[in-house]
Amino acid sequence: MIEMKQVSKWYGEFQVLKDCTTRVEKGEVVVVCGPSGSGKSTLIKCVNGLEPFQEGVVTVDGISVGDRSTNLPKLRAHIGMVFQNFELFPHISVLDNIKLAQVKVLGRSDDEAATRGMSLLERVGLAEQADKYPAQLSGGQQQRVAIARALAMDPIAMLFDEPTSALDPEMINEVLDVMVELAKEGMTMMVVTHEMGFARNVASRVIFMDEGRIEEDTTKDEFFGTQRGERAQLFLSKILHH
């Protein structure tokens, strides 16, 4: 489904991604973790072309992301993305947030988009908030709306860029619950997160990144077992300390 081959990226002189190669099969849930500044967010943003890269190849469903002839908006419409800071559109209502791209990009009718939007809001437990503005919702609620907004496009895969990092601790689980449910339904997911509980629970594979390099790319059991590299060991011991 998603394939990355020897992807490298530079910000000026600084190399943020070094020769990254990995793949995500249909239905897999791949968790990407690593210390901050290790390039994991940049890596996931290369998948839908939000971050351009200088070397290597990224293909999604057989379509090359870096190819100049690729219709990026069309490709992105089929890849859902959830951001660290939710990024709901503050000037329109919750339901309109979910409707906008359905109508403007997929060409659905207003009614169709609203019906789909309401059923997704129902699913994330926020149907009664449909007419509110994003700023009237808590962080956890906003992130659940953001997930619903991405799902409304019927994506073939979902990308999550640290979806719980900006949340107060008591709101993390309500978002993770939605993500776990999604994973169990067989959604293809690539998730940048430090939530090792989530990884343990639903991940098929875990990628560990450090200094722009994919240091480990293993099954969940291997990663949480003993067969793990020194840096990953150090990282895990830091975040699982308490």
């Binding site: 939000l50 908006p73 490709l75």
Partner: protein, 219 residues
């Protein structure tokens, strides 16, 4: 000059003053509308990924911002008819001058407004499959204009005052009509005081409105 402050002369001339005020309002509104439209296009050009386009728009802005408004008005009133070989008329020449001049100022305001919308919002729109144009139209510009309302209104107040410059081409706006009455009836004190008060009150109300808006939009 007959002595005393004669309120009667003001009262008597309200129709002619109102006629002038309508011209002032008409010019202000058309210039704001045209200026914002032109300014938006210029701002989008300045922010466009094509270098030459942003260079052209940037030069336009810098050029008009270095010109005194009165010179631009003269230019369109005297030189453009000369080039075209036929008169343009006071109203249209002044209106075009105002719009072209204001567009340069509105461009900078709108550019700042667009830049005030976060990168994350743009990325979210892109991730949903919106094209550049759709992203601008549905996500960025609505938020940018909301953020800009106070500054846009402030600029509108300045423009409202600047329209009084049309006296140089003989258009009958509020100030010119008051001036005509003042000289005809020899009531300079009454008329100029009235004009000053009306401008003051209208602009004061305008800027109080701006301050209210600023408070309600401030997070």
């Amino acid at each position: 000059m007959s002595g005393g402050f004669d309120l009667h002369v003001i009262y008597q001339n309200i129709p002619v003053l109102w006629e002038g005020m309508q011209m002032t309002f008409l010019l202000t509104i058309l210039a704001i509308g045209g200026g914002i439209l032109g300014g938006t296009i210029l701002a989008l050009c300045r922010l466009a990924p094509f270098r030459w386009l942003s260079l052209v728009a940037g030069s336009y802005v810098n050029f008009f911002r270095s010109m005194p408004l009165i010179l631009v008005i003269f230019w369109f009133y005297f030189l453009v008819p000369f080039i075209l070989g036929r008169p343009v008329g006071g109203f249209y020449s002044v209106l075009i001058a105002f719009i072209l001049f204001e567009a340069a100022y509105y461009c900078e305001i709108i550019r700042a407004g667009i830049s005030s919308v976060g990168r994350g919002q743009v990325a979210a729109g892109q991730a949903l499959g919106l094209t550049y144009r759709q992203n601008m139209r549905y996500i960025v510009l609505p938020q940018a204009f909301r953020n800009m309302i106070p500054v846009l209104l402030t600029q509108a107040i300045v423009l409202f005052q600047d329209t009084s410059l049309v006296y140089v081409v003989g258009l009958h706006d509020f100030l010119v009509n008051a001036d005509i009455v003042a000289n005809r009836d020899n009531r300079l004190l009454e008329m100029y005081t009235t004009v000053a008060l009306v401008y003051f009150v209208l602009c004061l109300v305008g800027s109080m409105g701006v301050r209210r808006l600023q408070r309600s939009y401030a997070l």
